[in-house]
């Protein structure tokens, strides 16, 4: 799996052993563990489960078939488009609301409990409501994605806007900077790492939101592809969809980590949010 290869260098870095030591210290146990997991899965399914149940060998054989299947490609495109659109809306609105909360204590007091409350809600309970409001359509899916994603962005941006170093603001005031330029040129860039941390969380939640919405309202997409194929007992094909979702989840993580390291090398706050 491609994901494993990605996480190897990051985890191997701390014990900067010579090549041989690293090879036998980390790579071999990982490969062995991976093989044991796959083999165990294969044997258990072969021994105890009906033939249609997904096992590594059949999933592997299904991959080339599925990734050229137009239905699969369309479904992936639909889900990704909805996630991207929803995330864009959540990012824009969430950043604005977050900045307001972080910089105005009145606004903070007025809405803080609601943001925290909505964030604590299991996001999927809004599905029945959204399906009433938007009908069984793509709009309900986007609304779910926005709802799933926006609150972690708001909370993190507000955190970031609150922790802008006071000196920056004082210098800006001394140079008679206007309110808006302070917001866009000082507060926003300085809360960027927080925004990225919030985005990382939001992306994961958005993906879940899109899949759950597709389950619930049965509209085309990767979630529905998985649901449909597993219903007609094509589990191996359906599992390729799960693998792709897992790859997206890990991919977002890696992308945000890379962006933080590349563009904000001074910043180290890996484990704040969540």
């Amino acid at each position: 799996m491609a994901e494993t290869a990605l996480s190897v260098p990051a985890a191997a870095a701390p014990n900067a052993a010579p090549l041989g030591g690293r090879l036998f210290g980390t790579l071999v146990p990982r490969l062995v563990a991976g093989l044991v997991i796959l083999l165990g899965w294969e044997l258990v399914v072969r021994g105890f489960a009906p033939a249609y149940v997904a096992k590594p060998s059949t999933v592997l054989m299904a991959i080339p078939r599925v990734i050229v299947d137009p239905a699969f490609l369309t479904a992936t495109g639909q889900t990704l488009a909805a996630v991207a659109e929803g995330l864009a809306i959540a990012l824009a609105a969430g950043t604005i609301i977050g900045l307001l909360i972080g910089r105005s204590s009145g606004f903070d007091r007025a809405v803080r409990h609601y943001i925290n409350g909505f964030y604590a809600m299991p996001m999927i309970i809004v599905l029945p409501l959204f399906s009433l409001w938007f009908g069984y359509s793509g709009a309900a899916r986007i609304a779910t994605v926005v709802f799933a994603a926006i609150f972690s962005i708001i909370l993190n941006v507000a955190d970031g806007a609150r922790s802008v170093p006071r000196e920056y603001l004082e210098v800006a005031r001394a140079f008679r900077a206007g309110g808006r330029s302070v917001l866009t040129e000082i507060v926003l860039p300085s809360s960027m790492p927080y925004l990225l941390a919030g985005f990382r969380l939001a992306a994961g939640r958005a993906l879940i939101g899109a899949v759950v919405a597709e389950f619930f309202i049965s509209i085309g997409g990767l979630g529905y592809f998985i649901l449909y194929n597993s219903r007609i007992y094509r589990h191996s094909e359906a599992f390729v969809g799960v693998l792709l979702l897992a790859a997206f989840g890990v991919g977002f993580e890696v992308l945000v980590q890379w962006t933080t390291r590349r563009f904000m090398p001074w910043y180290r706050r890996d484990e704040k949010a969540n």
């Binding site: 062995v32 007025a110 309970i125 597993s230 799960v242």
Partner: protein, 259 residues
């Protein structure tokens, strides 16, 4: 009020501290009421009608059994996740080869949207109680496991060396060094797992056999009973906030140990 200022300073400060909270809640409820009254009843229901509907649901005896049903599912799944995740995490931290080998796979599973596995669970295990517990378990176990491993691997090697040089047995080492040291991290996992288990619970009730609060809300939605939908969302939302607070309190209580 002015007379009380001198007499009840405690009351006064607590009033001042909590006034913004209640003002904000009252304003929100008023806004909800107005919005509900000025839109169509199929779209949105005012706060007052939501409360009336909620009372009807409780009085008719529909509500409490569903709530208990959900609670049973949540607690069973969560307890199993904790009972499996924490010891497994400690074991992984203790046996280095095992940890190094399995770590990337735990990371991947932690990042995978578990909801995607629900269709498989449905078609393999059907509609009983066990598949739903499995869903809650899958949602909750990885935060516990992940945080336990993180905590246990940050144990200073000196601690273990000292324990070893005093000829501490393996069991004593676990009980007196590893578990106490890791507990705050496990509690971080518990807090994250509470939120995830709640999502898992509702997802299981939506997509596997319909029971509990999930059934109440999706049933109301299918009958276009908007008031019922709002009443259920209100209750589940409040439960979510309450559990989140509880998790935070548990985490903070144990965080004092962590340097």
């Amino acid at each position: 009020m002015t007379a009380e200022n001198g007499l009840y300073p405690v009351l006064n400060t607590s009033l001042r501290r909590h006034a913004p909270f209640w003002l904000s809640i009252l304003a929100g409820l008023a806004l909800w009421e107005i919005a509900g009254r000025s839109t169509s009843a199929a779209f949105m229901v005012p706060f007052s009608e939501t409360l009336v509907r909620l009372w009807q649901l409780i009085a008719s005896g529909e509500f409490i059994p569903e709530l208990l049903d959900s609670a049973k599912l949540f607690i069973t799944g969560f307890a199993i996740a904790l009972a499996v995740g924490a010891p497994l995490g400690l074991l992984l931290a203790r046996v280095r080869v095992l940890r190094v080998g399995v770590e990337p796979y735990i990371m991947i599973l932690y990042a995978t949207p578990m909801v995607a596995l629900i269709p498989f669970i449905l078609s393999l295990m059907g509609f009983g109680f066990a598949p739903k517990v499995l869903v809650v378990f899958l949602f909750a176990v990885f935060p516990v496991l992940y945080n336990t491993v993180e905590g246990a691997r940050s144990i200073k090697p000196e601690l273990i060396e000292v324990a070893k040089s005093y000829r501490s047995g393996e069991w004593a080492l676990w009980r007196d060094v590893m578990l106490p040291y890791t507990l705050p991290y496990i509690m971080t996992g518990v807090r994250q797992a509470i939120g995830r288990a709640l999502v898992g619970m509702v997802a299981a009730e939506f997509f596997l056999s319909s029971t509990g609060l999930g059934q109440l809300i999706s049933g109301a939605s299918q009958n276009f009973d908007t008031a019922g939908v709002f009443a259920s969302i209100l209750v589940i939302g409040l439960i979510g906030v309450g559990l989140m607070r509880l998790g935070q309190a548990i985490e903070n209580r144990f965080a004092r140990w962590r340097q």
